[in-house]
């Protein structure tokens, strides 16, 4: 446990001091403030546009931080050989991987929370429009939940990216695989519909079973589904998070297996 926490702490410090991380944070904050201009293009729905655009921006920048961080996490250590001085110590390879993962996730979550705080400031910048928006949206309850669920998505995506960084031959191919999973994860409901229309009976069950290997990020898309009438997301938040933890754990197990076989 101590080893995991030590490695996690160092990973977090490394991320925060990395210039790329700061650039991403800066651009994210800029986009959020610039969303005020975009909002001005939709009078009557200014706050809605700022709200939606901001949430998407927070997720995109969280994704960039997570994917670039995860893909380079181990690859860069191997290339720069900093990993030698870790693995020659009495540290379990699994603990090392887990520690790196935890550190990165904390860095990603910190990015998203920081951007969320800026986003809130931008949203409440125009008090009257915000009051009107509050009539339609239970903002103070739903917003933290949306951010928490977006972080859940990043949790899963980081684990996927880490696996592909160990599996693929280069960081570019790892990036491509991860983004493909990200996109596929948002079409989970479409896929389910296609399976139901194309297959029947046992075949449908089997194909559904296989399709469940792909993540379903729509469960975590509270920023899009909270406006459903009779929104029932609150009921399954805990279960969705457990699904996310199980999914991340699956890819961490695969990563751990691959990493245990890796030679340096």
């Amino acid at each position: 446990m101590k080893a995991i926490l030590s490695i996690a702490k160092i990973t977090l410090i490394e991320q925060i001091r990395n210039r790329l991380y700061l650039v991403i944070l800066f651009f994210g904050a800029t986009i959020l403030v610039a969303s005020l201009l975009v909002g001005a293009l939709a009078p009557g729905y200014r706050v809605r546009v700022i709200f939606d655009l901001g949430l998407v921006a927070i997720e995109i920048f969280g994704l960039i931080t997570a994917v670039f961080g995860a893909v380079n996490l181990v690859l860069q250590e191997v290339e720069t050989k900093t990993i030698y001085l870790i693995l020659t110590r009495p540290v379990n390879r699994m603990s090392y991987l887990f520690g790196r993962f935890v550190g990165l996730i904390v860095a990603v979550a910190a990015t998203m929370v920081f951007m969320a705080l800026i986003h809130i400031l931008v949203i409440v910048f125009r008090p009257y429009q915000f009051q009107v928006f509050l009539e339609r949206v239970d903002f103070w309850h739903i917003y933290p939940l949306i951010i928490a669920m977006s972080i859940g998505k990043m949790f899963m995506t980081t684990a996927i990216a880490l696996f592909f960084s160990l599996f693929a031959t280069s960081s570019v191919s790892a990036l491509i695989f991860t983004v493909s999973f990200w996109v596929a994860g948002h079409f989970g409901t479409e896929l389910a519909f296609l399976i139901d229309t194309s297959f029947k009976g046992v075949a449908a069950i089997l194909v559904h079973f296989i399709s469940w290997i792909l993540p379903n990020f729509q469960y975590f898309n509270f920023r899009d589904i909270f406006s459903f009438p009779n929104f029932s997301g609150y009921q399954y938040v805990g279960k969705a998070w457990m699904y996310g933890v199980g999914y991340a754990s699956f890819f961490l197990a695969l990563s751990s297996f691959l990493f245990s076989k890796k030679e340096f």
Partner: protein
């Protein structure tokens, strides 16, 4: 080494178990209510829509479509001599051959044919069926501004199908029907209900104000203009409301104290 492989294998199997169990649990509670991808409206902006949907941004895709709609609808398609300082009442014959007056709105929206307006409306509806306010605006523009009531009803019909809980769609259907039938009194009561909600489009408030004036309810018309001045964010309808209020006060000076009280609050 063997022990590590065993541990990884057990961990994998347990994780799979957790995935399948909790996914099954969540599936029982999760209900997807956005339209299928195959139902998206094919437009030159389809790639943008798909790109946004590929990372689960239905609401943002609808917002961007709404902005595009405003840019489309905000540009006059036909040259039109238009006096900005008063609203126009246009006389025409309705389908039953009766003469009726419709309001022309000097907010510069609707100066043209706008053949794609319904397409925009459907695009918003199929990206985000719960962007009710925007759909109402499009339906209202189609019905009351451009006089294409059939298209408005087509849009509202689909909107009701996709979001049957939003009963104001039915309110608008009623408003369109009453207007077509020339049943202004019934239309008035429907609009009185509609403007209670903050997402009611300004053009409907304008119609209501004109109806009040038609029936001599000048104080009520004044209240509507006062409400528009205080709440409408779009510049043109707000300026129109100011001009109409000034015009009304010129015609009925005894309403000035009421106007002062309304605007002070």
């Amino acid at each position: 080494m063997k022990k590590t492989t065993q541990v990884s294998f057990i961990w994998l199997v347990l994780s799979l178990g957790v995935i399948f169990f909790f996914r099954w649990q969540v599936e029982a509670l999760f209900r997807w209510q956005y339209p299928r991808l195959t139902q998206l409206v094919p437009t030159p902006h389809f790639a943008t829509d798909l790109a946004l949907l590929s990372q689960g941004s239905h609401r943002l895709a609808a917002d961007i479509t709404y902005i595009q709609l405003l840019q489309y609808y905000g540009v006059p398609e036909q040259s039109h001599s238009h006096d900005d300082h008063e609203h126009h009442d246009h006389e025409h014959q309705n389908h039953k051959g009766r003469k009726e007056t419709t309001s022309g709105f000097s907010n510069h929206l609707g100066d043209g044919i706008y053949s794609q307006l319904l397409t925009y409306g459907k695009r918003i509806l199929r990206l985000d069926p719960f962007f009710n306010g925007a759909i109402l605006e499009v339906a209202g523009a189609l019905a009351f501004n451009i006089q294409r009531t059939e298209e408005a009803r087509e849009l509202l019909r689909e909107a009701i199908e996709r979001d049957p809980t939003f009963y104001r769609y039915r309110l608008y259907v009623a408003a369109i029907l009453f207007r077509q039938e020339g049943q202004d009194r019934k239309l008035l009561s429907v609009l009185e209900e509609a403007i209670q909600y903050s997402d009611c489009p300004p053009l409907l408030e304008n119609i209501l104000a004109n109806l009040y004036k038609k029936y001599g309810q000048f104080e009520d018309a004044l209240k509507v203009y006062g409400h528009m001045i205080k709440t409408v964010q779009e510049k043109n309808p707000r300026q129109d409301a100011q001009r109409n209020l000034v015009a009304l006060l010129h015609e009925h000076p005894k309403l000035v104290p009421l106007a002062e009280r309304l605007l002070q609050d």
